[in-house]
């Protein structure tokens, strides 16, 4: 799979419209661009179509019209299997909580993308997978938990494991969906610092979604979802 040159944006939305089934548009974004390597704070209150946008960016949902381009690949023209495959190769994803598969160890959770996708495995380089997992864990300060069952980890530790998993194998884009909402303020900043550092090191684009405006100063760029989502505006004016 050819990856577009560094000059093209990591994410490019164009006249995006999305509706569940035959319902009203949930999302209507005329244009949004996120450059490669950028760290973006995507602010949206609940109901602003945040979850839907993330589904579209991850390629789980398909736009009703318009285009969703990630790394210059248009999801709207790709099959769902191709989008799944693309996601496995190029995207890292961190959930709000419950990020981990409970019956796998920390290391196995981290290595999940490498096991599912050959490209991610290759990008680890000559290192063995356990070594790669250890390196990643060390970066995020969770190396001592590698062989523990994930259920024994605190929420903060779990989120760091999720971040490690999202970053392993050098995906170009990392999407974090309120990853800090379950953390207290101290740990929030600590987590963000680790995340930023890791993304920076991997050269990944970070799209950080949150309704928590207190985090806003930590980002270079903020996108207000309510201001670009015309569907939400229309609904709120109704």
């Amino acid at each position: 799979m050819t990856i577009a040159t560094a000059g093209t944006p990591a994410v490019e939305l164009d006249k995006l419209r999305f509706a569940y089934g035959t319902g009203p548009n949930v999302l209507a974004i005329d244009a949004l661009q996120i450059a490669r390597g950028e760290t973006v704070f995507l602010h949206g209150s609940s109901g602003s179509g945040k979850t839907t946008l993330l589904g579209l960016l991850a390629g789980v949902l398909r736009a009703s019209s318009g285009s969703v381009k990630v790394l210059d690949r248009d999801f709207t023209t790709m099959s769902s299997a191709a989008r799944d495959s693309f996601r496995a190769t190029h995207l890292g994803y961190v959930f709000q909580m419950f990020n981990l598969i409970p019956y796998l160890s920390v290391q196995e959770n981290i290595l999940l993308p490498c096991r599912l996708d050959a490209t991610r495995r290759e990008r680890v380089g000559s290192k063995s997978l356990p070594d790669a997992a250890r390196e990643m864990a060390e970066q995020l300060d969770i190396a001592q938990y590698l062989h523990k069952p994930v259920t024994q980890l605190s929420v903060g530790q779990q989120q760091r494991v999720a971040a490690a998993r999202a970053l392993i194998g050098h995906p170009e884009v990392v999407i974090a969906d309120e990853p800090t909402s379950a953390l207290d303020t101290d740990r929030r900043e600590q987590f963000l610092k680790l995340l930023f550092a890791s993304c920076d090191k991997a050269g990944a684009t970070l799209i950080f979604v949150s309704h928590d405006l207190t985090l806003r100063p930590l980002f270079k760029r903020t996108v207000e979802l309510s201001s670009i989502n015309t569907a939400a505006q229309m609904r709120s004016t109704e």
């Binding site: 979850t51 839907t52 993330l54 589904g55 991850a58 789980v60 949902l61 769902s80 299997a81 799944d84 495959s85 996601r87 496995a88 190769t89 995207l91 994803y93 959930f95 709000q96 419950f98 990020n99 981990l100 598969i101 409970p102 019956y103 796998l104 999940l112 993308p113 096991r115 599912l116 996708d117 998993r165 969906d177």
Partner: protein
């Protein structure tokens, strides 16, 4: 795919309890299904292996199953008998390699007695190659020798040389023990898990001799009365009171009398009349008192009954019309253990014979009155001990006593009692006029015939149940069936046809394998029932799995979303769940089969001992593999139900499960 398999296994491991419960329920249903299949095959094998190496079983004309069941399995009764002549004739048939005679009809304490030759032990095969082996002793060769099966040995605790008393018929109700002809054990057979284990084997001569002694047809029986008396300590014997009556009552002399010549002679009106002289009769009855209250008029009947308690052949005296005959089974009465079998005399019309056992008289039961049957045929009446003791109503086969006749015999007590017995003496006067010579030929004829061919002419309106068996009269040269091995197995079919269509003696030749298959097919519906039950059990096991997987789905929505987020497609989610259910089904099958074999290893011995069912611990049969494949397939299919739901939810949930 490796990842998914690992994920599936880890996922199952994480839910240990549900996983094992599900596996166990499937395993148990598989155990049931495969176990039943194994058992069914075992029963069939055991059953089909009861006899092998024998190409034909030949018996009197009857149903093929009847021939098979009565001979090999000892179930039911044979249709009739086959004459030795016929047997010899077929044995000499060019296609026949060997033929072994087989005679049934007697039992020893519930175990059937088989009369055969030593060839039987050499020729009989079961389960293809199993041979009849003696663990102790040898095959019976002498006429007083028997070999016993392992069950007989075990149950009766017989060792070599143990005495064996054979009972006539299959019921052990003591109607007629062949006590006069005791046998002893010379061989004990190894366990075969076939009906052989439950049989007693003797020579044909043994069977014949036993019955001949009792029926007074054994040539040796014509020895002197003294010898006979000596041989029969229990006998009635006039040894105590040697008077005119005792003589004729001696078995030996009886036998002699029964010889057609002697018989006819005795039936001569003159001699008969003489005996029936009222005076002498009365006198005798009184003088003999308890021990010899016997009517000599029906000597044969009384004698036989007394000696053997063997009622079947009733060469009852056939006095001329208007003769009243009285017979009392003094001998049987005297012999405490011998049931008072009272074979009535066979009488021509107008004659009635009554015999009362002492017991009957004692118990104040109405005298057993084997009234003559009005028909010209021979009538034989036997009253069992039970009947007499139980104050049963008089056994009156001939419902209506013929006119002009009143005959009664009773033991002394009877005579003494106020029982409405017609004393012989009383009827005697009537006898006199009727004893006309012209009657003789007619009367004598059936008697003679009945001696020679008991089946043909003996009518037994009442008799011990065991004697209802057709062909159980042990004619001199009768056997029940014979087993045949052919020189070339392909000839068996032709030989069967030849035997079945031969008209000299109607026979039914059965190919054991064919008849066994026929039998098994006819009872096959029971198998189907079992299988249906087992399949339901499997369905329940699979439903349990479906429930377990399906109910865990909601809790696993997050897991699905995570997998989706790292790039797993919906197909991966589906295969994960299907592989899980497949693993459950596979483990269930494997453990279930393990249970079956464990059960076989542990249960084989006890099942063999308890039920005589030999279950082989062999490899599984194709049918069992089919079942396992079906269960596995069904398990995988069942997995698609939750998988489909997971697929749908993972699509609609996207990456953030809405809860």
């Amino acid at each position: 795919m490796g990842l998914i398999l690992r994920l599936a296994m880890q996922s199952l491991k994480s839910r240990v309890l549900t996983t094992w419960l599900t596996i166990t329920s499937i395993a148990l249903s598989v155990t049931l299904l495969v176990g039943i299949e194994h058992l069914r095959a075992g029963v069939r094998e055991s059953f089909a292996g009861t006899i092998s190496g024998t190409d034909l079983i030949v018996g009197a004309r009857g149903g093929s199953l009847q021939v098979l069941l009565s001979t090999v399995f000892g179930i039911g009764t044979p249709a009739g008998s086959v004459s030795m002549k016929t047997f010899e004739r077929w044995k000499a048939h060019p296609a026949v390699k060997w033929a072994v005679p087989y005679t049934l009809g007697d039992s020893h304490r519930g175990f059937r007695v088989v009369g055969t030759t030593t060839d039987f032990f050499e020729r009989y095969r079961f389960r293809k190659t199993g041979t009849v082996v003696f663990v102790q002793g040898r095959a019976p060769t002498g006429d007083d020798e028997v070999a016993i099966g392992s069950d007989v040995e075990e149950k009766l605790q017989y060792a070599l040389n143990a005495p064996v008393v054979v009972t006539h018929g299959m019921q052990d109700i003591g109607t007629s023990n062949h006590e006069t002809h005791p046998f002893h054990v010379v061989g004990i057979l190894a366990r075969t898990f076939t009906p052989i284990d439950r049989s007693v084997y003797m020579t044909l001569g043994g069977v014949e001799g036993m019955h001949e002694v009792e029926q007074g047809r054994m040539p040796a029986a014509s020895a002197s009365p003294a010898t006979a008396a000596a041989k029969e300590p229990n006998g009635p014997t006039g040894a105590d009171k040697p008077n005119g009556q005792t003589g004729p009552l001696q078995p030996n002399s009886r036998t002699k009398e029964l010889q057609s010549n002697g018989r006819t002679k005795e039936l001569q009106p003159n001699s008969r009349t003489k005996e029936l002289q009222p005076n002498s009769r009365t006198k005798e009855l009184q003088s003999n008192s308890r021990k010899t209250a016997t009517a000599a008029e029906t000597p044969s009947a009384a004698q036989q009954a007394a000696n053997a308690g063997a009622p079947p052949v009733m060469p009852g005296a056939s006095p001329p019309p208007n003769v009243a005959t009285a017979a009392s089974a003094q001998q049987s009465a005297a012999n405490a253990s011998a049931p008072p079998v009272m074979p009535g005399a066979s009488l021509p019309p107008n004659v009635a014979a009554a015999a009362g056992a002492r017991q009957a008289a004692n118990s104040k039961a109405p005298p057993v009155m084997p009234g003559a049957s009005p028909s010209p045929n021979v009538a034989a009446v036997v009253s069992s001990q039970q009947a007499a003791n139980a104050k049963a109503p008089p056994l009156m086969p001939g419902a209506s006593p013929p006119p002009n006749v009143a005959a009664a015999a009773s033991a002394q007590q009877a005579a003494n009692s106020s029982a409405p017995l017609v004393m012989p003496g009383a009827s005697a006067p009537q006898v006199m006029p009727g004893a006309t010579p012209p009657v003789m030929p007619g009367a004598a004829q059936p008697v003679t015939k009945s001696i020679k061919q008991p089946q043909a002419t003996t009518v037994m309106p009442v008799g011990p149940p065991a004697h209802g068996e057709a062909g159980h009269d042990h004619g001199d040269d009768q056997i029940t069936a014979f087993f045949v091995g052919t020189k070339n197995r392909f000839e068996a079919l032709m030989l069967q046809r030849e035997m079945n269509t031969d008209f000299t003696e109607p026979l039914t030749a059965v190919i054991p394998g064919v008849a066994l298959a026929e039998l098994f097919n006819s009872i096959g519906s029971a198998e189907v029932g079992l299988r249906v039950v087992a399949l339901f059990a499997v369905a329940i096991g699979l439903t349990g799995m479906l429930v377990a997987l399906y109910s865990s789905l909601d809790a696993r929505r997050r897991e699905m979303a995570i997998l989706r987020s790292v790039g797993a497609g919906p197909g991966t989610i589906v295969s994960l769940l299907v592989i899980e259910s497949g693993l459950l089904a596979f483990l269930g099958c494997a453990i279930g089969v393990g249970f079956v074999y464990l059960g076989l290893v542990l249960g084989q011995g006890p099942i063999e001992q308890r039920f005589g069912l030999h279950l082989s611990i062999g490899a599984m049969k194709a049918a069992e593999y089919n079942y396992l494949a079906i269960i596995l397939g069904a398990g995988v299919l069942v997995g698609f139900v939750p998988a489909w739901k997971a697929y749908r939810t993972s699509l609609s949930d996207g990456l953030s499960p809405r809860t």
